[in-house]
């Protein structure tokens, strides 16, 4: 089996992760799929640049993240509006009781500055170490820690989570558990 074939085979396992990251990052399935497609095409056409023994996942995530940033800069103006409209739905969420679903969380994520969003997703959802996330984002460890911390704080604000509220955080988890049952 050639190295190229091996890498292709390994990429099959990475694709669901790339797609989950892209959907969470963009809040838009179509945009996410375009990003994943472009990532796969770039990765395969630069496969000789991949260093065996290093993480294929980190390598492909770096490609996707860089593509996202390039696209985000180009589309900044048009992206802001749809995100703003979607996020506007959240304003009445706390008053609506236990009705947080994953779509609401995805919309809340789009309210975060994108550098905080990507850091939180890589560490808090994808399970990368802070070091790996720093490598993917091309930044320092301390910067990633700070971005993750700020993202968590902001997300808690957007979702109206309150540690002192008996009906606060738990109700969201209960709602999700009920949804999953």
């Amino acid at each position: 089996v050639s190295a190229d074939a091996e890498i292709r085979q390994s990429m099959f396992k990475v694709v669901p992760h790339l797609r989950a990251f892209a959907i969470s990052l963009t809040g838009n399935v179509d945009r996410a799929d375009d990003l994943v497609q472009e990532t796969l095409v770039r990765a395969l056409s630069n496969v000789e640049k991949f260093q065996p023994g290093t993480s294929l996942q980190a390598w492909t995530f770096t490609i996707l993240r860089n593509l996202f940033h390039t696209e985000h800069r180009k589309r900044r103006r048009e992206v802001e509006d749809p995100e703003g409209l979607l996020a506007g739905r959240l304003a009445s969420l706390p008053e609506q009781g236990a009705r947080l679903d994953f779509d609401d969380l995805r919309i809340a994520l789009t309210k975060l500055p994108y550098q905080q969003r990507e850091a939180l997703l890589l560490v808090g959802a994808e399970g990368l170490s802070y070091e790996e996330a720093a490598q993917v984002c091309g930044t320092h460890l301390g910067t990633i820690k700070s971005r993750v911390n700020r993202a968590r704080t902001r997300l808690a604000e957007i979702l109206g989570l309150d540690a002192n509220d008996d009906f606060g955080p738990d109700r969201y988890v209960r709602a999700i558990m009920q949804d999953m049952a």
Binding site: F12, V41, F102, G124, N149, A156
Partner: protein, 70 residues
């Protein structure tokens, strides 16, 4: 003297406020809840079926996108 103490207190208070802005601390309970939410959402996404076009690309078929100039 009183003014000096007042100024110092104001300075310290300002530093604390700035530190909180730079590195806000989030309640551990809320951190746990957020972690659970994120991981459940992500797990849901990870189990989504992979679109066929990605499988085709990895099998060596080129996508038929406009940017493909081959």
């Amino acid at each position: 003297m009183a003014t000096s103490t007042k100024n110092r207190d104001a300075l310290e208070s300002g530093k604390r406020r700035k530190a909180a802005m730079v590195d806000p601390k989030l309640d551990k309970n809320i951190q746990g809840q957020l972690g659970t939410l994120l991981q459940r959402m992500y797990s849901d996404l990870l189990h989504e079926p992979v679109p066929d076009r990605f499988t085709q690309i990895l099998k060596g078929f080129r996508p038929t996108e406009p940017e493909d100039r081959s």
